[in-house]
């Protein structure tokens, strides 16, 4: 049995694929996005930090460990607890992170177990992983949620720490293999919202519209600075405003002109 390092399990997840889902968050990520909401997801190993518990407004020092090593059988037990909600809603399980494909052995074992239990499966990936690892999970994954953060390789490198070459080639590989893919674009004002960038994204999607009909626009939410400082990290993102409803709807319309189905939020 494989052991997975995870940093959270979210039940009644309703924005990570169809229906009511359980999302398992793997720890460890090859990217270092400036806007990352989950800095605790980045390092592959568990991290213990000092925190404060509040009791009637008074502070009580405590320790908290981000990340836990859990056997796949135990994870399956937790996943299966909500199977009647999946059945009722056409939901299932989503593996997210961090980057779930950073732990390909555990991930493929979990996906196989889900397949056996007839659960709908979804993998939320940044795409920056070894191409052959995708092939291992292809048969047992019903849906890929595939992040597109920036189309400009240099800016991608600047904001995430890696280029986008591998990400884009892996995307095509998946589409060619007949996988079901939904592209997800985090909308971060001032970083990937220029006219030019939007145009690049749209033409990327248009070129692949015969194999992928759906795209999600995820509005940026302000980052909790506390988490960063607790982990001894600094936020690299300059003051960025959350995109307003109007901005999101304008973007949605632009993407829709290509004939794609565009959803705000997941």
């Amino acid at each position: 049995m494989q052991i997975a390092t995870i940093f959270d399990i979210k039940r009644f997840a309703v924005h990570d694929g169809p229906g009511i889902r359980t999302t398992v968050f793997f720890k460890g990520c090859p990217l270092r996005c400036w806007w990352c909401h989950n800095p605790e997801s980045q390092l592959p190993e568990p991290e213990t930090v000092e925190i404060e518990r509040k009791v009637d407004g008074r502070r009580v020092p405590a320790r908290r460990t981000y990340g836990e090593q859990v056997g796949t059988a135990e994870l399956m037990e937790i996943i299966l607890r909500d199977r009647h909600y999946y059945a009722e809603s056409g939901g299932g399980v989503t593996f997210s992170g961090g980057e779930p494909l950073m732990q390909p052995e555990a991930l493929s074992e979990l996906l196989r177990a889900c397949r056996k239990a007839k659960l709908h499966t979804c993998v939320d990936t940044c795409g920056h992983v070894v191409a052959t690892d995708f092939e291992r999970i292809l048969d047992d994954t019903d849906l890929f949620l595939y992040d597109l953060k920036h189309m400009d390789p240099l800016l991608h490198l600047k904001y995430t720490g890696t280029g986008n070459g591998l990400i884009l080639s892996n995307a095509d590989r998946l589409l060619e293999a007949g996988a079901r893919v939904i592209f997800r674009i985090p909308v971060i004002p001032g970083i990937n919202t220029s006219d030019e960038e939007t145009g690049r994204m749209i033409s990327f999607l248009e070129e692949r519209s015969d194999r992928c009909r759906e795209v999600h626009l995820l509005p940026y939410h302000r980052i909790a600075g506390q988490k960063y400082s607790r982990l001894g990290k600094t936020i690299r993102l300059p003051e960025v405003k959350e995109p307003g409803r109007k901005m999101m709807e304008t973007l949605q319309k632009r993407f829709e002109q290509t004939g794609l189905e565009v959803l705000i939020g997941g």
């Binding site: 309703v14 990570d16 009580v60 009722e88």
Partner: protein, 787 residues
């Protein structure tokens, strides 16, 4: 909402809740003139009923279509001195208290001082009850181990079936006479009692017709003086309706509604039963009239909506009769718990949703009134569109409607031995109570404080709040060598107090049977007429008495804390733990943080906690279920709080789950407020660890932020969440959809949020009307947000 309805709604909202001396004076005059030998008790009560309906003021409000008020004006609320006499001090409290107050004017106070109090002092049913209770009962009652529902109000908790839509009072009185003729004076030793009861029923049936005719006369008089030709015609038509019903069976929607309303007024005038009265499956009952009216051109859809809206306003004009003392604490609200049932299945088991269901849902959303309360029965036979529609109303954030599992209710009722058809005709009333409508007397007897019982167990039978010995000596917990020993001691205490509660219940039930029969209500609940037996004497086809368990979440977390820290991790001894509790956790923040944050808690789908919930539930169930009452009812349990979790919290010191002394307890089967950290599916899974089918109702509160309901996809996911819970036999779920920020703002600026209605327990209430503790508690209930 048209102009008429807008005006009526405004009138209703602005009417001030006040005490009316009208009924009190009539009751006093009647009893003063009565000679003791004149009548049997049932006939005496029937003659009183007739006397009140003959002499009370008739109130027709400007512009209304459905007529009849319990008092002389909207929200003018009568008292029931034969049940409970309000003292001058009570009146002062009612008038002056900040929440759920009733204005008492000088004239009313004088009437009480000069007439009502002098006659009734020491002679009420409440006096009778307290005179007969044992010392053990009185001590346990004073300690807050249980409450008593019938000390200030009469048993009721019942719902009307379809009888009045098939039969006028003439036919019903005919049934009564037939039953009289069938009496067997040779072999039935109770034939005389039955005869008196049936005589009383006949008097009541005729009295209601007389009451309707008085309305007809008044309407004619108003019509004669009306300058507006439209209203003149309307008044004449209304007079005609009041001459036809309740005398004869209704033939139109208007007549059906007016008939029900007269019956409703009759029931809440005869006595002050809990949960007022309830038309039950309104979309089923009214459908034939609606379709017929439409087909014959008597009414169009807009006209039907207008009538239903006028009908809704009548409920809102009738607050619950004024409560004082413990009864006010356990049920501190104007709401009188009439719960309209929509959806579910028909008698033959097929989908019960129809076009009127959707119209009634529109009415609920548009009227946005405290009363009547509303719920949807969700069966797997019902379409998703119906549930989605109800969820969209919940989204508007006034806590209605709540969601009930029809398929589970049917299993609960048939499991109790009811016929399948009777179960399908049933539903839920009050807060969440399952019942067979039109055929069952299911009487709630009081809340039972499971947390207090564990507290007393932890002190070897002594109540630490008073230092008094209240329960038996079940061992010094510091000497318990195992968790099992603690559980055994708890079960012994539990049985001790349940025995006391049930002995009291049985006496109180007899008091009502002998002294407070309800011949009018008995006309409508089968088989009272056939048996010649009163509703309060076991005349209904099915009879059930409930004890309502309180604090499941709290007591589970207490057991989990003790198990985890004292017996498993051995991080603290029992003796030290008890000292920390006595100190109310002062200076023990680290322990408290560990209890609040790092101990298995109910509501997280964590077996380490949830197995205790199952165990406590089963222990409570086994202590109560299956015992019999004098009227032949069976005792059963349900799990609901109204506002008793606040009152019960006030009488309990600090508890091992980290709760401070006198803070509220958990309510219904919900987790301790704010302790569910793994989202709603985990809460529901925990709640499903107890066997809902062994209850007559469970109550589960869930809170969501409004943005969760932002689009149709999210709404459908709520529908699916409900469906999944119900597929595993969950009984009920309700939602509060309002952000904590809004509630905080409403505390700071109540003036800006006067329309803010929130879900409390099995009912909604104005946020401003709630006491501070309850406001805080509602804010603490976890807000679930989607990821």
């Amino acid at each position: 909402m048209n102009e008429r309805v807008k005006k009526l709604r405004k009138q209703s909202l602005e009417a001030v809740n006040r005490i009316s001396a009208e009924r009190g004076l009539l009751v006093t005059a009647f009893y003063k003139a009565l000679s003791p030998m004149q009548h049997s008790v049932p006939v005496q009560r029937a003659r009183l009923f007739e006397y009140i309906l003959k002499n009370k003021a008739i109130c027709i409000n400007d512009g209304e279509l459905i007529v009849g008020e319990r008092g002389p004006a909207p929200k003018a609320t009568p008292t029931y001195p034969e049940i409970n006499l309000h003292t001058l001090k009570d009146l002062e409290i009612l008038d002056g208290r900040e929440k759920v107050s009733f204005r008492v004017d000088r004239e009313t106070r004088e009437a009480f001082r000069e007439v009502i109090i002098p006659y009734w002092e020491g002679k009420t049913n409440r006096d009778r009850i307290f005179r007969n209770m044992s010392d053990a009962w009185k001590e346990a009652y004073a300690a807050g181990i249980f409450t008593e529902f019938q000390e200030q109000r009469a048993p009721g908790h019942t719902v009307l079936g379809d009888k009045i839509y098939r039969m006028g009072m003439r036919e019903i009185a005919g049934e009564v006479r037939k039953s009289m003729e069938a009496l067997d004076f040779h072999d039935d030793p109770q034939a005389y009692e039955k005869l008196e009861e049936l005589r009383a029923m006949e008097i009541c049936a005729n009295a209601l017709v007389m009451f309707a005719w008085r309305h007809a006369e008044k309407l004619d008089a108003l019509a004669a003086g009306e300058a507006d030709m439209g209203r003149k015609e309307e008044l004449k038509r209304m007079a005609a309706v009041c001459r036809r019903v309740p005398s004869r069976a209704p033939s139109t929607l208007h007549e059906a509604l007016q008939y029900y309303w007269f019956v409703h007024l009759g029931v809440i005038t005869e006595l002050n039963p809990w949960d007022s009265f309830n038309p039950g499956r309104l979309d089923q009952h009214l459908l034939p009239f609606y379709r017929n009216d439409l087909a014959k051109g008597i009414l169009d859809e807009a006209g039907a909506r207008e009538l239903l809206q006028c009908f809704w306003i009548k409920f809102n004009n009738h607050p619950a009769p004024p409560k004082v003392g413990v009864t006010a604490e356990e049920s501190n609200t104007y709401t009188d718990f009439c719960l309209i049932n929509l959806g579910g299945v028909r008698e033959d088991g097929s989908d019960g949703v129809n076009e009127l269901t959707f119209i009634l849902l529109d009415v609920i959303e548009e009227m946005r009134l405290l009363q009547p309360s509303s719920m949807v029965q969700v069966s797997r036979k019902n379409p998703d569109e119906f549930v989605d529609r109800a969820v969209r109303i919940v989204k508007t954030g006034f806590g209605q409607p709540s969601f009930f599992n029809t398929d589970a209710i049917i299993l609960e009722l048939t499991g109790q031995g009811k016929r399948l058809e009777d179960a399908r005709r049933g539903g839920a009333s009050g807060c969440v109570e399952s019942g067979a409508f039109g055929t069952e007397a299911y009487i709630l007897t009081g809340y039972f404080n499971l947390v207090k019982v564990l507290e007393i167990t932890l002190h070897n039978g002594v109540d630490p709040m008073t230092g008094k010995r209240t329960g038996p000596e079940t061992g010094d917990p510091a000497a318990f060598e195992s968790f099992e020993a603690l559980k055994e001691a708890f079960v012994r205490q539990l049985h001790h107090f349940i025995d006391i509660k049930i002995a009291g219940n049985n006496l109180i039930e007899r008091i009502f049977t002998l002294h407070m029969p309800v011949p009018f209500l008995s006309l409508f609940i089968d088989d009272c007429i056939e048996k010649g037996t009163d509703y309060n004497a076991g005349g209904a086809r099915y009879n059930t008495s409930y004890v309502q368990g309180m604090g499941l979440g709290s007591v589970t977390d207490m057991l989990s804390s003790l198990h985890t820290h004292v017996f498993e991790r051995k991080s603290i001894t029992m003796a030290n733990f008890l000292r920390v509790l006595a100190d109310n956790f002062e200076g023990h923040d680290a322990l408290r943080a560990s209890l609040l944050y790092e101990t298995p808690r109910y509501g997280n789908d964590d077996d380490a906690a949830d197995r205790h919930a199952r165990w406590v539930f089963d222990a409570f169930h086994d202590a109560v279920t299956g015992r019999l009452t004098p009227r032949g009812a069976t005792y059963r349990i349900n799990m609901l709080p109204t506002t008793s979790h606040i009152y019960f919290g006030k009488v309990v010191g600090a508890t091992p789950d980290g709760r401070l002394a006198r803070e509220p307890l958990s309510e219904g089967i919900s987790p301790v407020q704010g302790m569910d950290r793994r989202g709603p599916t985990a809460v529901l899974n925990s709640a499903l660890r107890i066997d809902h089918l062994k209850t007559g109702g469970t109550l589960l509160n869930q809170k969501f932020t409004p943005d969760f309901f932002k689009d149709e996809r999210s709404i459908r996911k709520i529908t699916q969440l409900i469906r999944a819970y119900f597929s595993k036999n969950g009984h009920h779920i309700q939602f509060n959809v309002v952000s904590a920020a809004t509630l905080r703002d409403a505390q700071k600026h109540p003036e800006r949020h006067q329309d803010l209605i929130v879900r409390v327990a099995g009912y909604s209430d104005y946020f401003n009307a709630l006491g501070r503790e309850l406001q805080e508690e509602i804010i603490r209930r976890t807000e679930h947000e989607g990821v």
